[in-house]
Subunit: 311 residues, 2 copies
Amino acid sequence: MPRSQTRHSLANQILDIVRNARLEAGHHLREQWLGDLLGVSRTPIRAALDLLAERGAVETRKNQGFFLVQSFDALQRLQVEVPSSAEQSLYKQLVRDRLAGKLPGSVTQSEIAKRYDVDRGVLMRALSRLAEDNLVARNKGHGWRFLPTLATDVALRNSYEFRLAIEPAGILLDSFRPNPAVIERCRLQHMVLLSNPDLGSVDSAQLFETDVAFHEALAEFSGNLFLLQAVQQQNRLRRLFEFWSYGNKRRVRDWCREHLAIIDALEAQDFTRAANAMREHLTNAYEERPQISANAKSGKGSANRKKTLRA
Amino acid sequence: MPRSQTRHSLANQILDIVRNARLEAGHHLREQWLGDLLGVSRTPIRAALDLLAERGAVETRKNQGFFLVQSFDALQRLQVEVPSSAEQSLYKQLVRDRLAGKLPGSVTQSEIAKRYDVDRGVLMRALSRLAEDNLVARNKGHGWRFLPTLATDVALRNSYEFRLAIEPAGILLDSFRPNPAVIERCRLQHMVLLSNPDLGSVDSAQLFETDVAFHEALAEFSGNLFLLQAVQQQNRLRRLFEFWSYGNKRRVRDWCREHLAIIDALEAQDFTRAANAMREHLTNAYEERPQISANAKSGKGSANRKKTLRA
DNA sequence: TATTGTATATTCAGCGTCCATAATACTAGC
DNA sequence: GCTAGTATTATGGACGCTGAATATACAATA
C-alpha cells in the first residue's frame, strides 16, 4: 500500500473491471460504482481515472465524469506499469543475493543499509515483507537471519510435499464447492495457452499467473480459509524463484492438459477423480521440477537486471 | 521482542535449559555458554540471571559468576511470570470483543484508540501481530478489517480439517525422523498428566502447552519447514480461543492416551500406524471440540452463530 | 587460560511531528 | 434524483531524534 503505487494499482484493477464486464467504448465509468467495487472512496478512484485519462484509455467530460474511449477488447493489452518501488527491488535483490550465497545467514539492518545504500524505511519494509513470507526472521537480539526456506533444493521439495498434502485434501472436503463461472474462465485461459502453436510468444509471467489462478481457485472452492492461505503462501514463494523461465515448453503443455483433466472431473462432480488427478499433477510437476542450477545461472527473464548473482 | 520482556523470557528459557540438562545444585552457569545456546550475547543473559538470582533460583559469587542454588527437579515448578504488556492485553481484548460481536468487521485505528484508550504505538503493534496471525488485514484505503478466521464456528472446523490434512501427512513423509530424546520427554509429560488423579490441580496453560509441544514436535520431525510453520500457526490460533478451559477432564485423559498411542507407534517405527492414530486423534478432538459458548460467555452477539455447528 | 567484570560502540525501537493520501461533507450541474 | 466537482476532516505512513537494549572489546580475577 505504499506511495502513489496505489494509483497505478487501482488503475489496473479498473481496467480489469472493464474487461470483465465487457464494457464498450463510451461507457460512463461512475466513480462511486468503481469505489464500491474496489472498496475505496471516490478520491483514489478519481486519481486512478486521471491516470487512465493520461494514457488515453478514458476521457473526461466536464461535469459529467469519465468515459471509456476504447471498448474492452481494444484494452486487452493495456496495462499500467506499476513503478517498482525501491522496497520491491531491495526485496528481490536480497533474495537473489542470498540464493547466490553472497549474504551470510545472519545480517543486521545496518549491514544491509550500507551494502545497498538504502534508508531505513525502505529497508524495514523490505525486511517486514520478507518476514511475512517466512523468508527471514528476527534474531533474538539484533539482526535478522535467513530461514532455511531459502535453501532452494530442500525448500522446493518441501513445497511440493506440502502442496501434495493440502491441495488434493481440499478437493475432498465436504465444503468443497466449485464455482462454474470461475472454472469456465480457467478452462478458457488454459485453452488459449494450448491453442498457441508456439508457446514462445507467451511470456513466463502469464504462464505463471494462469497456473497460480488455477490452484488458488481450487483452494478457494474448498471453503477452508487456512488451506487457501497456505496455497497462496506457496505461490508467493514460487513467484520468487524465477526459475519459472518455463524453458521446458513440453512440460507447459503437459500441465495444461493435467489442469484441464482436473477441470473435467470437477465439472462431472467427480471429486475423487479430481483429487487423484491433482495428486498426479503435483507429483509430475515435482519430477519435472525446474532445475535450480539452470536458473541461478543467468535468469534470462531478467537479463536487464544487474548480473549480481552469477559471476 | 519488545521491552524488558526479553529478560523474563530469557530467564524462563534458562530454566528450561537447566531442566533439560538436568543440572544439579551448585552447577556453574557460564554466561557465554547460555548466550550461545540462546543466540544472544552475554549482556541479556546476565540480566536474566540477575532476575533469577532475585527469585532465589541461582546465586552470584563475586568474580565467579552464577551458580544453581537448587537442582533441576526442585525447579520444576518455577516459572518467571512474564509481565503482560499493554500490547498483549489489547491483542486479547480485541479478539475477545470481536468474538463477542462487540466490534464491527471493519475498524479504524482511531476508533480503537478511543475505545480502549491506548496510544498509537501499542495499537500498531497489536494490529501488526493480529495481521501476522492472519486475524485482521489492512483495508485498501484506511482501516482494518477482521478476517473470517475469527468467525469461530467455521474457523474451528477449518482448523481441524486443515490439521487433518497436514499432520498425518507429515508423519508419512520420507524425511520424517523422530527424535528419540524428544519423544521420551513428551511421553514423560503425558505420563505426569495421566498419573495425576485429579487433573483439577493442573492448570489449563500447562495442559495446552503439553498438547502443543507434542504436535509441534511431530511436525518438526517431518523435516518439512512449511508443515511446521503451518502447525505452529494453527497452535497460535488455538491459543487464542480460550475455551481451552478444559472443563472436560475426561477428554484430557483421552487425548493423553491417544498421544501416547501415537508415541508408541513412533517408537516401533510404525509410521503408518502412527499416521492413522493421528488421524483418529484429530477426528476425535473435533468431535469433542470445545464449546465456543463457554468462551464467548457474555456473547449475546454470537449466540446466533454458535448454533450453526452443532448437529 | 577461561571466565567474569566493566567500559564502549552499535543497533534498533519508541516517540513526536509532519504531510501525502483517503474519507467525508457539501455544492453545483445534468 | 443522480452524478461530478470542491472543500474539509482524518488517517496513518514517513522522517528524524533519542535512548534503552544489545553486542563487543578489553581489563581483572580465579
